[in-house]
């Protein structure tokens, strides 16, 4: 979000408490959402749950177009619409909910750096596998992406998106990579995360931070999503402490709330394997 918004947040948002009717918008869970979007949405949900902020999850086919940054998910709180994890973290901070208060300067720097590692490598790898691997994009991605739209439009939008992502890959130098190299990058990233986590319960000792929410969102989605083959999830499964970490977050923050919010669709989506 922009500076103008930041200023607004700190001036206005701080005064109001977190409202009851906050809403989180994301794409349709069953037939539309893609691996990368699901990871981002889950990361935001995890962050809000760790902060103990209640939101109602709303599924909309056009969530991507409703979002101010063009990427799902986004939250609608009072008069504010905020999209993506980074700005949402800022927004919650302005309201007095922060997970990284207790960290010192160097730890904060490291946390930010690891969050960018996840965005830079895991998210990009997910996008690459979704849109640039021919078998995944033809068997899964394009049909799911276009599923809410009628006949000619579904193909047009899917190809348009694919073209856009491929141009982006070209711009960041990933276009020349093949699938093996991408898996290698994922492995490298997981190795780094695993080393960093070590035997701790969370990345910075006992208290989860936004980094934990982000890592959980991505790894849990990768672990529970069925793609054309298991190569991607196998890479994550090689690191036992990461898998345990995902279970821990799920148990502590998603299952215990389950009985309270049985109506919330998210709790179910995490138990079942998200389709795709």
């Amino acid at each position: 979000m922009s500076i103008a918004h930041d200023v607004l947040f700190s001036q206005m948002a701080a005064a109001e408490p977190w409202p009851e009717n906050a809403m989180l918008y994301q794409p349709l869970k069953g037939e539309q959402i893609l691996l990368s979007d699901n990871a981002s949405c889950l990361a935001v949900q995890a962050f809000l749950r760790i902060c103990n902020l209640s939101v109602q999850v709303v599924h909309r086919a056009n969530a991507e177009y409703m979002s101010p940054s063009g990427k799902p998910p986004f939250i609608h709180v009072g008069n504010h619409v905020v999209s993506e994890l980074g700005p949402i973290v800022q927004f919650a901070k302005a309201k007095g909910h922060s997970l990284s208060e207790g960290l010192d300067e160097v730890q904060k720097a490291e946390m930010k750096a690891y969050m960018e590692l996840v965005n830079n490598m895991l998210l990009t790898a997910e996008l690459y596998i979704q849109w640039c691997d021919d078998s995944t994009s033809s068997k899964i991605t394009r049909s799911r992406y276009g599923s809410p739209y009628p006949w000619p439009l579904n193909h047009i939008l899917a190809y348009q998106k694919q073209w856009e992502i491929r141009r982006k890959m070209k711009a960041i130098g990933w276009a020349g990579k093949n699938l093996e190299q991408v898996y290698e990058d994922v492995d490298q990233c997981c190795q780094a995360l695993s080393q960093r986590l070590g035997n701790q319960s969370y990345f910075f000792n006992r208290q989860p931070t936004e980094l934990d929410a982000l890592v959980f969102g991505h790894l849990f989605t990768i672990l529970t999503t069925q793609l054309t083959n298991d190569a991607l999830s196998e890479k994550v499964k090689n690191y036992e402490n990461l898998v345990k970490f995902c279970r821990r977050v799920e148990q502590n923050y998603f299952e215990e709330l389950d009985h309270e919010s049985r109506l919330s669709p998210t709790s179910r989506s995490l138990r079942d394997t998200p389709p795709k």
């Binding site: 500076i3 960018e116 995360l193 070590g198």
Partner: protein
């Protein structure tokens, strides 16, 4: 290692061995690791084997991405990271990602999008550096490519108002610089007393920003406030690039008359070319407007009555 590796990079200026981030990163890492390199500092990217800069020519082929080059150096046994613990290697990866996501867009913005900087620094530099016929085409091409890269990196955010985007990019980059400064603290390099690949990447990104004479320098000013990062860049320059570093003084002195020695052959060629173009234009005009005309003079019709001018023109041709 029968034949040494060859590295093709943009040529340097402003007291730097190269003005280009990726070129600097690769070169700095090679110096840190002590890899034997034949360095070609070019002012024409078409002279490089791939048509782009930087490029590393090895026995197995070409490397174009700076991180691939670092990997290749490591595989060849020139590893500056061997002292790092596994956690430090993980940190390296994380901070490289941070720089890539937050600082790089701001650098592209500062050098290529910001109108003041682009018009009075970046474009003139490339237009003067790249040799003549290409200098009409390549700076525009580079500009387009950087704009496109920035747009694709930002996604649809770029559709918002330009001021907002600018403020956001620069803000994130300033934060990134502060984080780096905090991580470096009072050490001489990021992981102790000797440089590693993270140092190479940080140096590659910060040195041009620190040394370029930018007219519009919000980000540069922020960097100058972070003493330890400035000190870090200067340390790397003086320890690993002593020749360029001492050049700085003489460079600034003769900056009014830019490097005669390097450019001499091009200059001569350019002079010859421009004289030729001028001549062709003048003769073309002369023919078209009828001042000169060519008459085919057959042997029997060779009369002295023919136009005096015509004869002269013919002889010239």
């Amino acid at each position: 290692m029968a034949s040494p590796m060859e590295l093709f990079i943009w040529r340097g200026d402003w007291g730097l061995p190269s003005v280009h981030t990726d070129s600097l990163t690769a070169l700095a890492y090679a110096r840190f690791a002590g890899a034997p390199l034949k360095v070609h500092k070019l002012s024409n990217p078409w002279r490089s084997p791939s048509g782009t800069l930087p490029a590393l020519k090895t026995e197995q082929g070409l490397c174009l991405q700076p991180l691939q080059m670092l990997e290749y150096f490591k595989k060849q046994g020139y590893n500056a990271d061997y002292r790092l613990s596994v956690k430090e290697s993980a940190d390296t990866l994380a901070f490289i990602s941070l720089i890539n996501e937050k600082l790089l867009p701001a650098l592209i913005y500062t050098f290529w999008v910001d109108a003041k900087n682009y018009v009075s620094l970046t474009r003139p530099w490339f237009a003067n550096t790249i040799p003549f016929p290409l200098s009409l085409y390549l700076p525009n091409r580079l500009h387009e490519r950087h704009l496109e890269q920035l747009q694709l990196r930002l996604g649809s955010q770029a559709l918002n108002s330009e001021e907002e985007t600018e403020a956001q990019i620069l803000d994130e980059a300033s934060e990134c610089l502060t984080l780096l400064s905090q991580r470096l603290a009072s050490q001489s390099f990021f992981f102790g007393d000797s440089p590693s690949s993270l140092d190479a990447v940080v140096f590659g990104h910060l040195a041009p920003l620190l040394k370029a004479k930018l007219p519009n320098s919000k980000l540069q000013q922020h960097l100058q406030l972070l003493d330890n990062l400035c000190g870090f860049c200067n340390t790397v320059l003086s320890l690993y690039f002593p020749t360029e570093h001492t050049d700085t003084v003489s460079d600034t002195r003769r900056s009014a008359a830019p490097c005669e020695t390097d450019e001499d052959p091009h200059k001569r060629r350019n002079q010859v070319l421009s004289v030729l173009v001028g001549l062709v234009a003048m003769l073309g005009y002369a023919f078209l407007s009828g001042i000169l005309s060519i008459k085919r003079v057959s042997a029997r019709g060779a009369l002295p009555a023919a136009n005096r001018l015509t004869e002269e023109g013919d002889e010239e041709e």
